[in-house]
Symmetry: C2
Subunit: 332 residues, 2 copies
């Protein structure tokens, strides 16, 4: 294992410190916790959004804390759910009396711990609602999940629910729009290489020199097929076909596209994938409103990518385009 780290047990702490030091104008750490919150107080009381999960998916989630997106992000150990007390600290810190929406990726540990935190918060009189993101079109159940996994589509939930909250909407309304995004978003990924959790010290799985895993999860969970390596175009066709089947998009529909790198994939390759994705959508007369290419939901240094499509209506389009000022999503 070759990594730019000091102590495998301290990677999350040191990452959070380095992140706050880099972005003092945007982020601050709640002392003694693994919670990062906005460093400015929103101009008026608003519904607050909290997300989080295991570390190793950076810039998710702290990279999306800021105006127009999240109010707080809770970091667990690498690929490990944060504990309920950490989530509870985040909820208490960001609540402005308008309630808190928890955005949870669909992993059993995350759901259990975020729900326990919600109960603790409700007991202190804080209104809490939650949504569970399950955008992975690859498999129905998986290693750490009942039902579909939550992956890169989560970032669209942050963006759109965050924009509505910033406009002063109620907790019910922010919950409604977050649920709408979840209904309208699907993703699918593939991996060329594994990644190594620092505390484990060795790769999470093995894969041959000419193999790839289609439908791989962001913690290395098995996908739907261990296949021979294919071309970028063939891979794009496979991923998009699964998503289109699931989302039932039709000619004339509008989408936002995300081509997400898992950690070790050059931007060059992500753009080559995007070329084919755009061509497929164009052939089907599905209109691409906007495209996001880069690292949004990574798996440490895994090589591979995921494709996400979000079906847009007028409300989602307007909120997607609303201003955001975070480390990893900036929009004027």
């Amino acid at each position: 294992m070759k990594k730019l780290i000091n102590d495998p047990e301290k990677v999350v702490h040191e990452m959070l410190e380095g992140m706050v030091l880099a972005h003092l104008n945007l982020l601050k750490r709640l002392q003694g916790t693994t919670v990062l919150v906005r460093n400015e107080t929103p101009a008026r009381a608003k519904v607050a959004l909290v997300s989080g999960g295991g570390s190793g998916h950076e810039p998710s989630h702290a990279g999306f804390v800021g105006k127009g997106m999240l109010d707080g992000a809770v970091a667990g150990e690498v690929f490990t759910s944060p504990t309920p007390d950490q989530v509870f600290e985040a909820i208490k810190a960001v609540d402005r009396g308008q309630g808190v929406l928890l955005i949870i990726k669909n992993y059993s540990g995350d759901i259990m711990n975020f729900e326990m935190a919600a109960e603790l918060a409700e007991a202190e009189g804080i209104s809490v609602k939650q949504v569970v993101v399950n955008d992975d079109a690859a498999v129905e159940d998986s290693t750490y999940t009942t039902g579909r996994r939550g992956i890169a589509g989560t970032v669209f939930v942050h963006k759109i629910a965050g924009a509505l909250a910033e406009q002063g909407a109620s907790l019910e309304d922010v919950h409604r729009v977050a649920s709408k995004v979840i209904n309208n978003v699907r993703s699918m990924g593939m991996a060329l290489s594994p990644c190594t959790v620092p505390a484990a010290g060795k790769p999470g799985f093995e894969i041959g020199e000419n193999e790839m895993e289609i439908g791989m999860g962001i913690h290395g969970e098995p996908g739907i097929q261990r296949a021979e390596m294919a071309s970028a175009d063939e891979i794009a066709v496979t991923l998009v076909s699964h998503i289109l089947d699931d989302l039932k998009l039709a000619s004339g529909d509008r989408v936002a596209v995300m081509i997400n790198g898992l950690g070790a994939t050059p931007l060059m390759e992500l753009y080559i994938i995007n070329k084919k994705v755009a061509e497929i959508l164009n052939e089907k007369e599905i209109r691409v409103h906007d495209t996001f290419v880069g690292e949004y939901m990574t798996s440490l240094e895994m090589a591979g990518c995921s494709v996400t499509l979000l079906k847009l209506d007028d409300e989602l389009t307007e909120l997607l385009e609303a201003p955001a000022h975070t480390v990893a999503w900036k929009k004027e």
Copy 2:
């Protein structure tokens, strides 16, 4: 070689297509060329900035084309200088009668080809000036370079010279400020793994399971030391020490910091490096004005990082903070 590509000979073409399709509002391709230019015409005639070089360093350079930064970027084949005719096309396309500044990284091929293009443009009555970026503090001469190499510090030249050009400054003045940035910026990198040029099909060098290369160039050129793997803190100390020696920073100086990932390095690790870099600078009472952590000047899927320090004065600070609207640098 496992890569998300179709044909090793077509990676640059397909990447440029995929990039334009993703960012139609920002970029367009000059037909039949490897040149990307802004898709909006600047509101008034201004000095135009052109950069470029071999591909494989994305988001450099097309990711920095847009308001407040570059007007055009010329892409060569992977790790290969673009030809003079391509650079000449870029110059002709972006010139608005106020002259063109070429921002060249210090590689012999780039300098030769950009200079030939400049001569072709001058012959057609276009005023052209150029700067050569040589920020790499690691080695004096190198495989493809006489003098220091140009690496991630180039992005600060794009940002600051681009901001001054956007304000309507003369070609002489934009050239002056670009030269000032070059005098004030130093970088140094290190690599944990090699990368594979698609057309070559195999890694550019070999490195042991417990080795790293200190001072590695962005094309895999040898650095100053093949050393045993060290901790993130030790690596940060080594890189920053070389830069500080070279830049002669003193207590009270102000800097901008860039922690640049070479392609396969998780953000987590870059933030851990940043933590130590910030601590070192704080100890020396060097004030960090702003910090940029992410992928700015990559080497395909090489693992490793570079650290860049830019010494700021009031003019450079103001221009660094000026608005920019590009794929990879957004500032309100």
